[in-house]
């Protein structure tokens, strides 16, 4: 082994004398310690050493010191080769004095970094004395594979003990003779030997080292852990990978890169993202992952207006998309409940842990990045252009296109409605600092235009983070703040209402769409412009699509300020206490202005309508952590005892309504609203969770680890319930097999792990106390029965897995199997209306999820070409074991059982899955033969039947990154296999006779049903129906799709091209959704109308997903 391992139970901590630079390579986090100043430090308070040695080998002395303290040495073997025998006689001397004595006569000096003592060559003061005459001055630089300088690397001349340390720019000067061998080493890199030739200039590139290195990762609550000690699967993604191909919400960039996670997003710029880890667990609770920033859970701020039925709704985006992706240092994905167990009552759905950047000591570093992209629709609708409009006898044209064939085919392409969207992002960050104070500052802007006219998103972020040492080695303070202002104009509406796409897609083929581009006309009777749309609302609430875009204005502005303070005090070197407070304040202003002559369905007045809402969501989080880290001979113990309080408050009010008919048209002010029709709303809610938790990890010989966590939550949502607190335990075990037994040579590392846990999912507030709704001053009866017996949902989870590395760490494999059962499901059963309540909460049900998540990576090198492929595989099987089995109804005392349930617009049944799709279909017998009426027309089912499942069988992501000299290429291909989607859009397009299929059927003389041709119009309109409540079971498509999801290609210009005036410049092209390799659905199956549990895999006039092509420039100074 080249290195003596640092048996550090914790990462060498950031302290006043060193900079920790974290490099993330694949899943492995390397920690490099960059010594800026090589000198003796004040450290090791309270550690005393007694030594009595004569002519001892230095290495023996070091072992003695390790035994008496909890410090460890790190050194290059070569360094000790020339060491002199040690004579020392000390008693209870402080560590540093003892070390000073030890190294007094040696050519070695030391530096203490946290619990590690780094040994380095002592700077030579009288160089000439011992140098051979042939020596010449050698100047060299040490860089990493990416060309970044490595300061603090040790450069030794073999067999001499002479050496130096590289400076800030990775350069060094040493006197050496040709033929001398330089040994260059640095933590985290492979030791490299270079023979001195005739040149006095030498450039050395160090390769990253994996073997034996301790990857340090950030786990729940921000606790840093040695990766080998984890008893569960944790996947890490570097900030760079996240920003490879930028997306308005960076969460989209995780797709295909982590296993065990399924990600969908709503269409359009600034939409929300749905992140489901290891399957849907909750029938009616939240199933989305918890986002945690720097250890602290973030409020979801999920969009409230999402579609839940065919009338549709608008998604305003979620809270996580507010972060500036350039501030992200790394992301850890805790897909399993055990990994997240420390978050207790909200851990069931897994955690996305985001670690943000900090300031660095030393030279000012400035990074600038700029991107420009265009958006185009990705999967487009296909229409017929052969047949024209249906015309009534009175000459009025129908909006339907079931008329005769046109003499000249229609030239109208509905996709021409879409404009080219764009996105410009600019971001600058500055990192600087001194020994005692480091600052990070960033500013970014995002200016984006959607493909639907007048859809815009503008976002501006400012972040600042300051870390400082208040009392040397004792007290550190970390302050950060983020401010965001965002303006979202006309977020796209999915569904039937306020959606320009309905008339765009159904537009009659005979007519000229261009006539309606001038969407308003001057009306002399009103003396203002009114909507031009002679078609009426088509009973679909349709309007001129451009009017919808330009005269129904909806703006959502968000201002958000997050601030946090963290204070940490080292009580002793093995015990510290840390406290953190974070406040997150987000205010949304939501303004709707509908112009006069907008459909009165939406305005209630010929004069237009106006509404103004404002909502402030405030989250306050505080915690206190007492951390202990201790080693006893072969054992190590890490423990954290903590308490936390998280408080969430929402305060909102809205007012508005129809503009008074006696008032001023198009004057958008509350003062102009019809007082009879003025409407107002208020939302106020608060919940709080208090917790006490303990996590302890016992390690044996650094190869066997036992992990225990426990957390007790007191939840305000459980007030008035029989029990208002819950305990969530977890236990895990991991062992490094490769350190315990001798394994075949090709296995370089083998770890096995298993864990079990109980975690929860918080209930909604107000379920336990019965209160009377009051609407417009009228009290109405309680619709939901109060639920005193409420218990939080509970997920029992087991997972086990292995992490393996082969062929000298070139190939790595991580495999996890999990099995979770979620019980005590809280759901609002919709009882029959005759029960006296319209909502009824129960604790019942059992949902099982089991599956595997696997990741395989390879680090290949073929000459100058390096190739790093990564394959992720995600498989989940969801099963509803019980809906309600022998459930004792706490209100009636009766034992009730139910195998199925209508919920959230969906329907679930035992034996099925939470993502089953139920729709009416054509009636088929057991052999699948369509049942027909006497006239040959197919019969339809009366009830909805199961026609598919929106969740996939499995997902595969295949990411490839290539580098050749300074060129880089990243390609991510990902596929989703299995599952179904439903297109109600297609149903309506068929019903209106505008789809390609409807023309093909007419060309073929009808639709063949059991050998008989059924007239196309009769089949599509009368039987399958043009209405939305119709036979969508015939519009089920495979959701399997494979695409080139991300591609980036570019060139890194090294700093030397610019005389090192700048450190680096990279320029590249990027693409997202570049190519659909396989897809049989009429829309992109990966976009969904909403991010909830239901209403998935359903398209009803959703905006198409986007293809993004861009240019990216990054400069660092």
């Amino acid at each position: 082994m080249c290195f003596k391992a640092i048996i550090a139970r914790k990462i060498p901590k950031f302290n006043s004398h060193s900079i920790i630079k974290t490099l993330l390579v694949m899943k492995i986090t390397m920690v490099s310690i960059v010594a800026m100043v090589v000198q003796v430090h004040a450290a090791g308070y309270g550690q005393v050493v007694s030594l009595s040695q004569k002519n001892a080998k230095l290495v023996t002395t070091l072992k003695q010191i390790e035994k008496q303290t909890d410090y460890f040495f790190w050194y290059e073997n070569e360094l000790l080769r020339q060491s002199k025998p040690v004579n020392i006689q000390i008693s209870k001397k402080p560590l540093r004095e003892a070390l000073d004595d030890c190294f007094k006569d040696q050519t070695i000096t030391y530096e203490i970094v946290d619990h590690t003592i780094l040994l380095r060559p002592k700077p030579v003061t009288d160089a000439s004395a011992s140098y051979p005459e042939t020596a010449q001055k050698i100047h060299g630089t040490v860089k990493d594979a990416a060309g970044n300088p490595i300061p603090g690397a040790t450069v030794l001349i073999k067999n001499t003990g002479r050496g130096v340390v590289t400076g800030v720019n990775g350069d060094f000067n040493i006197d050496a003779s040709p033929g001398d061998i330089l040994i260059i080493s640095f933590i985290g890199y492979q030791r490299t030997e270079v023979t001195i030739g005739s040149s006095s200039e030498i450039s050395i590139q160090l390769k990253t080292e994996e073997k034996g290195m301790e990857a340090v990762v950030v786990t729940a609550l921000g606790i840093k852990r040695n990766e080998r000690s984890l008893t569960y699967n944790l996947q890490t993604i570097g900030g760079k990978e996240v920003n490879n191909v930028r997306s308005a919400s960076f969460v989209n960039s995780l797709t295909g890169k982590v296993a065990g996670v399924t990600i969908n997003s709503t269409p359009g710029i600034g939409g929300s993202t749905r992140v489901i880890m290891r399957g849907l667990k909750s029938i009616s609770g939240n199933n989305g992952a918890l986002y945690v920033v720097d250890g602290i859970p973030l409020q979801q701020l999920s969009s409230s207006g999402q579609p839940g039925d065919n009338f549709g709704g608008t998604d305003y985006g979620d809270g996580i998309s507010n972060l500036n992706p350039d501030d992200i240092e790394s992301i850890s994905v805790l897909s399993g409940a055990s990994a997240a167990a420390l978050y207790g009552g909200q851990a069931a759905n897994g955690v996305v842990l985001i670690n943000t950047k900090k300031g660095t000591e030393g030279k000012l570093r400035v990074n600038f990045s700029s991107g420009a992209s265009v958006y185009k629709p990705f999967v487009k609708v296909e229409e017929q252009n052969k047949y024209g409009s249906t015309t009534s006898t009175s000459g009025n044209k129908s909006f339907e296109s079931w008329g005769p064939a046109l003499s000249t085919p229609s030239s109208y392409d509905p996709n021409s409605f879409f404009q080219t969207g764009s996105e410009f992002s600019n971001s600058i960050s500055v990192a600087a600092g001194t020994q005692k104070n480091q600052t990070y500052f960033s500013m970014s802007s995002l200016n984006s235009k959607g493909i639907i006219p007048n859809n815009k998103l503008n976002r501006y972020n400012i972040s600042v983070r300051n870390s400082s040492t208040l009392i040397e080695d004792k007290l550190t303070l970390d302050i950060s703040a983020m401010y965001l202002t965002q303006e979202l104009r006309n977020p796209p509406h999915s569904g039937q209402y306020i959606n320009p796409l309905v008339p765009v897609y159904l537009f009659p083929r005979s007519d000229n769409f261009d006539d309606y581009k001038n969407y308003e006309r001057y009306d002399i009777s009103h003396n203002y412009n009114v909507q031009y749309w002679p078609y009426g609302d088509l009973s679909l609430a349709a309007q001129n699509p451009y009017w919808t875009a330009y005269r129904m204005l909806h703006t959502v502005n968000r201002q958000r300020l997050l601030g946090s303070v963290a204070l940490k005090y080292n009580i002793t070197n093995w015990l510290n206490i840390a406290g953190r407070v974070k406040v997150d304040n987000a205010t949304d202003n939501d303004i709707t202005e509908n112009y006069a002559s907008t459909l009165q369905l939406f305005t209630g007045s010929p004069n237009g309508s106006y509404s103004h809402g404002s909502t402030t969501s405030k989250q306050t989080y505080a915690d206190l952590l007492l951390s202990l880290s201790k080693k006893f001979s072969n054992f190590s113990l890490n423990a954290v005892l903590g308490t936390s309080v998280a408080d969430n408050q929402v305060n909102g009010a809205s007012i508005g309504g129809a503009l008074a008919e006696s008032g001023v048209p198009n004057f958008f002010s509350v003062s102009n609203v019809d007082q009879l029709h003025i409407g107002g709303g208020e939302s106020r809610s608060r919940n709080q969770t208090q917790a006490v938790f303990l996590t302890a990890q016992l390690g044996y010989k650094n190869f066997l680890f036992l992990d225990l966590t426990g957390r007790n939550d007191w939840i305000s949502q459980l007030a008035y319930a029989e029990k208002s607190h819950t305990f969530y335990p977890s236990v895990g075990l991991s062992g490094i097999i490769s350190d315990m037994v001798k394994l075949p040579e090709f296995i370089s590392y083998a770890k096995a792990r298993a864990s079990m846990s109980y975690v929860g999912n918080p209930p909604s507030p107000y379920l336990t106390y019965a209160l009377y709704p009051v609407t417009s001053g009228v009290v109405t009866p309680i619709a939901a029965k109060p639920f005193f017996a409420l218990k939080p949902e509970k997920t029992a989870s087991f997972d086990a897995g292995v992490d393996l590395k082969f062929m000298n760490n070139k190939l790595n494999l991580s495999f996890t199997y999990y099995n979770t059962n979620t019980t005590n499901q809280i759901f609002s059963a919709s009882p029959p209306p005759g029960s006296g309540y319209s909502t009824y909460y129960v604790n019942a049900g059992k949902i099982n999820n089991k599956g595997i998540e696997t990741m395989v990576g390879y680090a290949g090198k073929f000459g100058a070409l390096s190739w790093n492929p990564t394959l992720t595989f995600t498989l989940n099987r969801n099963e509803i074991k019980e809906v309600m089995k022998n459930y004792q109804n706490p209100f009636t005392g009766k034992t009730e059982s139910q195998d199925s349930l209508s919920i959230g617009g969906g329907f679930i049944a035992a034996g099925g899955t939470l993502s089953d799709i139920y729709q009416r279909a054509l009636l088929r017998d057991a052999n699948g033969v369509i049942q027909t009426n006497a006239d040959g027309t197919p019969q339809t089912t009366v009830k909805a039947v199961k026609v598919g499942r929106s969740s996939p069988d499995y997902n595969i992501g295949f990411n490839n990154s290539f580098t050749l000299h300074n060129f880089y290429l990243n390609v991510l291909i990902d596929g989703r296999f299995g599952g179904q989607v439903v297109s109600a859009t297609q149903s309506l397009m068929d019903g209106y006779g505008v789809s390609k299929e409807s023309a093909a059927a007419r060309d073929a003389g009808g639709v063949n049903v059991n050998g008989k041709m059924i007239d196309a119009q009769k089949y599509y309109k009368d039987i399958l129906g043009a209405a939305t409540s119709t036979i969508l079971g015939e519009y089920v498509y495979s959701a399997t799709n494979i695409r080139v999801r991300e591609l980036s290609f570019g060139y890194n210009f090294p700093g030397k091209y610019f005389n090192d005036k700048i450190q680096g410049l990279s320029i590249g092209v990027t693409a997202r959704n570049l190519l659909m390799l396989y897809n049989k659905a009429p829309f992109d199956p990966e976009v969904s109308m909403a991010t909830g549990t239901y209403f998935q895999g359903y398209d009803y006039f959703m905006q198409p997903s986007l293809r993004q092509l861009g240019l990216q420039l990054k400069v660092s100074f």
Partner: protein, 540 residues
């Protein structure tokens, strides 16, 4: 090391205590946090004793769905696109569902289920609150709730047949249905009890109006509530005339004989209107105007009102904007290509604040006229009562020409012409076209007299399509034009027309076992639009 241990010990102890205190100290506030600030506690409802009667408002506002001010969507799908069309009162120019919808018997569950859940969830839930709070302590308030409940539930059971009635409000996940006979028998008992409670109260507290603030119909006038109760009892009894004729007679005579009387004057009419701070927006106004012509005069109405030269036509409808000065209706159940084809036909003469009519004195006269025709003791002859019915109806709409109208023995329903599509015409002499005249003829046969009474009642009770459709099914009158395009796949014959609405699909999902039993209670028919209700016994 000893001094360190004790020092560490102290620090740890302090830290632990701090942790403990921080977490335990303030969970008491949880009870405040977990009470929805937007909702009222039960103790707040004690103030002014509002909890005793406030739920009447919710009940009254939902007999005809009007829960959210200005939102007519439930009314539209539940009534306007169902009974208002099937009764022949109104029709629509809109090609809803690509012109495949209730009107041409492609029944839309989203529409047909609306009343089922609205009346149970919104009317009966209020009734349950009042029952819990008042049935012992304030039977007079409970009595009013009972009357509203019967009024509402009769409208619902006459759509579907069997309904959850006696088992309503039991909680749990399944609710048993009652047969329609059981429900009708309960109606009469409930009404009798209500009248008895109100009678006792008004005797003890003459003139007292404890529910005045919460009553949008009669402003707390219990005498009028008793008149309404008797009138509803008469209406319910009449519905039984073909299935239990003896009971029908007995209960009808009881209602007429009751000391508190029936609705006799237009000032007795039960109608919901804006009162105090509660605004009632007429849903028909919203559907006709705000939803821009989603409902229009029907061809039937045009045929009768123009044929009879009925002066009420101007009170009911506006002339067509497409054919100035002309009243033009739309035939229901046709193929519609474009809304533009007929959206400018006759609109409704209704304003945003027109009261929502529950039951009128005119209807009661016609009920009595029919009873008298059946030789029941109705305190008058058929002729007297028939003419009084027309007179009260004219008075309600403040129209003149009564004498000429009553004397008109020639005018008949006019043929109908659809200017857009002649397929929808009703030619002169067509069997679908009514031949009944207005003037009472004592010498006419029973069926002719009955048709005359029901036809005039049908005109007088407009726009209450629920009652119009029920009486059409019971008696076969007036002659409602059959539909033109039938998309029921042969389930509902065009000739006999739709007889009921199917149970909501949601019942099959949430209350499967009980709804299956309810289908058995239909008396052999399937759960579809062709099965006749229990009282629907007259063969035609």
């Amino acid at each position: 090391m000893n001094q360190y241990i004790s020092w560490y010990h102290r620090i740890s102890l302090i830290a632990l205590s701090a942790l403990f205190l921080l977490s335990i100290s303030c969970t008491k506030k949880f009870e405040d946090y977990n009470r929805d600030p937007a909702k009222a506690t039960d103790s707040l409802l004690q103030y002014d004793y509002i909890g005793k009667a406030i739920f009447l408002i919710q009940m009254e506002k939902n007999v005809f769905p009007n829960a959210t001010t200005g939102d007519a969507s439930v009314y539209q799908v539940g009534q306007n696109l169902c009974a208002d069309v099937f009764s022949g009162f109104l029709a629509f120019p809109t090609p809803f569902g690509g012109s495949r919808n209730n009107a041409n018997y492609a029944l839309n569950d989203g529409w047909t289920r609306a009343y089922f859940s609205n009346e149970l969830n919104n009317v009966l839930s209020g009734w349950l609150e009042i029952k819990r709070r008042d049935s012992i302590s304030n039977p007079e308030i409970y009595a009013v709730a009972q009357i509203i409940k019967v009024l509402s539930m009769q409208r619902v059971t006459d759509l579907y047949g069997p309904m959850p009635y006696s088992a309503y409000g039991g909680g749990g996940f399944s609710v048993a249905y009652d047969s329609q006979e059981t429900i009708y028998r309960s109606f009469i008992v409930d009404l009798d009890n209500a009248i008895a409670s109100l009678d006792a109260y008004t005797k003890a507290h003459p003139g007292a109006k404890p529910i005045e603030k919460y009553d949008l119909v009669y402003s707390g006038d219990f005498i009028k509530w008793m008149r309404l109760a008797n009138s509803i009892k008469l209406r319910a009894a009449m519905r039984l005339s073909y299935v239990l004729p003896d009971l029908a007679k007995q209960k009808a005579e009881e209602a007429v004989a009751d000391v508190h009387g029936l609705l006799t004057d237009n000032s007795d009419n039960a109608q919901l209107q804006t009162r105090g701070g509660i605004t009632i927006v007429n849903p028909l106004y919203v559907i006709s105007e705000t939803y821009v012509a989603d409902t229009r005069m029907s061809a039937n109405m045009e045929s009768f009102l123009t044929g009879f030269h009925d002066p009420r036509i101007a009170a009911y409808f506006k002339t067509s904007t497409e054919f100035p000065g002309v009243y033009k209706g739309i035939r229901a159940g046709i193929d519609i290509i474009s809304k533009d084809d007929r959206k400018n036909f006759s609109g409704l003469n209704v304003t945003v604040s027109s009261p929502i009519q529950w039951m009128t004195a005119a209807e009661v006269y016609f009920l009595r006229a029919e009873g008298a025709l059946r030789n029941w003791n109705m305190n008058g002859t058929p002729k007297q009562l028939y003419e009084q019915g027309i007179q009260v109806s004219f008075a309600k709409d403040n129209v003149s020409g009564l004498d000429n109208y009553l004397a008109d023995n020639t005018s008949k329903a006019a043929p109908y012409t659809d200017p857009v599509d002649s397929k929808n015409n009703i030619a002169a002499g067509a069997p679908e076209l009514s031949t009944i005249t207005i003037k009472w003829e004592d010498g006419d046969a029973f069926e002719q007299k009955l048709e005359r009474i029901i036809t005039q009642k049908w005109i007088a009770i407009y726009p209450e399509g629920g009652e119009g459709w029920s009486e059409f099914r019971r008696t076969g009158y007036p002659k409602v034009f059959p539909i033109v395009a039938n998309y029921s796949n042969g389930v509902i014959p065009t000739k006999t027309q739709i007889r009921r609405l199917p149970f909501p699909l949601s019942e099959y999902n949430t209350n499967a076992a009980e709804v299956q039993k309810a289908v058995a209670l239909l008396g052999g028919g399937a759960d579809n639009g062709n099965t006749r209700l229990w009282w629907d016994k007259k063969p035609w």
